[in-house]
């Protein structure tokens, strides 16, 4: 009981500290970005510009993919985020026929979403080869590839399979090359370097273009869809914070392809932070002086820890409070019980990422959907162990309690629960460890935590950043496990622990 009180106390402190947000959320501009570097940089530029106009800014970087951001925008979890025209027509409105900018604008308006003018660069699919190789063969356009059937292509598996990728490109240009292999993008660059591959697919603003000195072949038949970068924003921003929006829209037609490639390279290859890159761009191009604040390692660790603990403690506590009675119910009503076990079992079979994304339509993005998903994910081990812990009590012990003349409730409280305690506790322990690990995925929907540095680290191929999230997550899992091992000494009756030593 004492333990329960302490955990409830921790819960309240955490809730209180998370709610301690004095800023008026109406004036705040919430900016989002996808989880790849270019989007993060644009988001950073937008954030710093908005800040320079005097707005309070909340920047949620590295939210998962298009669906997550689009839903977050519709829900009002974010006000603005960078998107690509091709993605809007191909993914968001894939079932609709949209032929031009005007139709796109009108379609978006139906959702009360505004769209900026293009920011200036087109990040579309492109084919690239080593510059010296291309010059030697005299290749400038994709059409010219027809004359070189011996060339070896190494494409990302996505490009090999996409409708607008290799299959239709081959048809449109009548390309004769047979030697095409699908491989990881990073490996493709290495293959290019070593000469095993002559050509790869890439995005036209990839940081690697200058680094590997690649020549982009001209899409002379205009096969690839345009992927002009734009900003999507909620129309209500025009009334809520017109000044900030006006400042942000200064970016229209102001970021060239070359500039974007250079900024991507600064982050991905030179290891400069997105904040600094964004700040430099604003200084050079818009004469806006911003002073990006870089969080120290310890402060980041502290915040990530707090966020992570918040996710874990709330979701796990809720799961414990719900699962134990549910397990007891399942045990007492065997028929319905099997249904209960089946349902929580099915939840467990959903990939955790899918479960997180399922939550977005109901709860938006951020902490709440992450907690709900983690909560659902933590149910099964506790429900199952409560159920089996009770079910496995030997009949003669159960009947001895009954025969003494204990009431069913007293029997339950004095005999059955203590006997099932070890099994229940080990269920909670399993849930806790799964929870700590799964919570790292919460960063994908804007819940923060140890997943944030892991996401950035994967994106930037920066092992130190990955470890900044992975090590504390592992330590936390071990700590929680240790905590439960300790609490076992308090909760599980000594007589049951002796048994283990004896066998």
């Amino acid at each position: 009981m004492k333990l329960l009180n302490i955990s409830l106390l921790i819960l309240f402190v955490l809730i209180a500290s998370s709610c301690n947000n004095p800023k008026d959320s109406k004036k705040e501009i919430k900016i989002g970005s996808k989880k790849f570097t270019e989007s993060v940089i644009i988001g950073e530029i937008v954030s710093q510009l908005a800040e320079s106009s005097g707005a309070d800014v909340k920047y949620r970087k590295e939210l998962g993919g298009t669906r997550v951001l689009w839903n977050a925008l519709l829900n009002g979890d974010i006000d603005i985020y960078p998107e690509y025209t091709g993605t809007i027509t191909q993914e968001i409105f894939s079932s609709k026929e949209i032929n031009n900018q005007r139709e796109l604008k009108e379609e978006l308006l139906e959702y009360r979403i505004g769209i900026s003018q293009p920011l200036g660069f087109n990040n579309t699919y492109a084919l690239g080869m080593k510059r010296d190789n291309a010059d030697k063969l005299g290749i400038k356009t994709i059409s010219q590839l027809r004359e070189h059937p011996e060339l070896k292509f190494g494409f990302s598996s996505e490009f090999v399979n996409r409708g607008d990728g290799w299959p239709s490109l081959k048809g449109a240009y009548r390309l004769p090359q047979k030697n095409v292999q699908g491989l990881d993008h990073d490996l493709a660059y290495r293959g290019l370097e070593s000469g095993h591959i002559d050509m790869i697919d890439l995005y036209s603003t990839d940081a690697e273009i200058p680094y590997y000195d690649l020549k982009i072949l001209e899409d002379d038949l205009k096969h690839f869809e345009d992927y002009y970068a734009v900003l999507l924003y909620r129309k209500d921003l025009e009334n809520k914070n017109p000044k900030a929006l006006k400042t942000i829209l200064k970016l229209e037609q102001n970021i060239s392809e070359q500039k974007m490639v250079q900024m991507n390279a600064s982050v991905k290859i030179d290891g400069i932070s997105e904040k600094t890159v964004a700040s430099n761009y604003l200084k050079e191009t818009h004469r806006v002086n911003t002073t990006p604040v870089h969080e120290s390692f310890l402060s980041r660790l502290y915040h990530n820890t707090l966020q992570h603990l918040f996710l874990v403690v709330i979701s796990l506590s809720a799961a414990i409070i719900v699962s134990i009675p549910l397990g007891i119910f399942a045990y007492q009503n065997q028929k319905v019980g099997h249904l209960v076990l089946g349902v929580v079992g099915i939840i467990q079979t959903l990939p955790s990422l899918v479960l997180l994304v399922f939550m977005i339509p109901f709860f938006g993005i951020g902490t709440v959907p992450a907690i709900v998903a983690l909560f659902l994910y933590s149910l099964l081990p506790i429900v199952r162990n409560t159920y089996s812990g009770l079910k496995d009590i030997p009949r003669d012990i159960r009947e001895s309690g009954e025969a003494l003349g204990l009431t069913p409730f007293a029997q339950f409280r004095l005999i059955e629960i203590p006997l099932a305690s070890r099994s229940i506790l080990s269920g909670i322990k399993t849930s806790a460890v799964i929870n700590v690990g799964t919570a790292t995925l919460g960063a994908l929907i804007g819940a923060g935590g140890y997943g944030q540095p892991i996401l950035s680290g994967i994106r930037l191929d920066n092992m130190a950043l990955i470890l900044e999230g992975a090590i504390p997550a592992a330590v936390l899992a071990l700590l929680i496990q240790g905590l439960f091992d300790l609490s076992e000494r308090v909760i599980v009756p000594k007589g049951l622990r002796l048994e283990e030593g004896k066998h």
Partner: protein, 248 residues
């Protein structure tokens, strides 16, 4: 006095107990005996309400056993089973005092009663702080008996209480049990499959086969005036044990 009136219990197709009438006399030891699966344990479990019969009534000291008075009537009965059925999460003391604590006896009264029971059952007092897993099989049965006797019930129901013990400890406990029964004047119902044990304890022996009572009476009646050839077969099968008792 316990009366069973026309009791039947089925497990699906299997008729475990078939329309049994049985009177168990106060302050006497009644032994239910028969081959495995004959229904003797089922009868005992019906008396203490662990099993509800399909038909028939159980009267305990004049009260009809129902789900309403079940809990109170159980507190007038002590129940001991083969492996003791001790609660592994509680110490010896905890097992014995569980019900008394639940009924809010004060500590002194509990301690006094436990001291008495330790003397009666010859359970070593220094083992009271141990857990069931830490004590021997014989001690576990003594402990189980203490637990059954804690509230000083009028009736004692024992289901193969000595079945899991080795012969030496078993014979020692047999003697102690008999002493306890006679000194306490309890109504005892004991289930066993051992005719020797039945003869040793039983004021009345009830021989059961396939859910029906074949014969009831003293061991002498069963041996000399068998109601059915099965009685003789059953006794003869365990003749050697019987002779060691030396009653016949």
């Amino acid at each position: 006095m316990i009366n069973l009136l026309n009791i039947s219990k089925d497990y699906g197709e299997n008729h475990a107990v078939k329309s049994i009438d049985l009177t168990i006399e106060t302050a006497k030891t009644t032994v239910l005996i028969g081959p495995s699966g004959c229904g003797k344990s089922t009868i005992l479990r019906i008396i203490i309400g662990l099993i509800t019969p399909e038909r028939g009534e159980v009267h305990i000291e004049g009260d009809t056993l129902t789900s309403d008075n079940l809990i109170l009537l159980r507190r007038k009965m002590g129940y001991v089973i083969q492996e003791g059925g001790l609660f592994p999460n509680l110490t010896a003391q905890g097992n014995v005092s569980l019900m008394a604590s639940y009924l809010d006896w004060d500590k002194k009264r509990i301690q006094k009663r436990i001291d008495e029971l330790c003397d009666l059952t010859k359970f070593p007092k220094d083992a009271l702080t141990r857990y069931p897993i830490q004590i021997s099989g014989g001690q576990r049965q003594r402990l189980s008996l203490m637990r059954a006797l804690m509230l000083d019930p009028d009736m004692l129901l024992l289901d193969e209480p000595l079945g899991a013990l080795d012969p030496l400890i078993r014979s020692e406990l047999q003697n102690d049990l008999k002493e306890i029964f006679s000194s306490l004047c309890k109504t005892v119902v004991m289930v066993t499959h051992d005719i020797g044990e039945a003869a040793f304890f039983g004021d009345k022996i009830v021989l059961i086969k396939e859910g029906s009572i074949i014969q009831e009476g003293k061991i002498y009646d069963l041996a000399k005036k068998p109601a059915d050839p099965f009685v003789t077969t059953f006794i003869n099968a365990q003749r050697t044990h019987l002779e060691s008792v030396g009653d016949i």
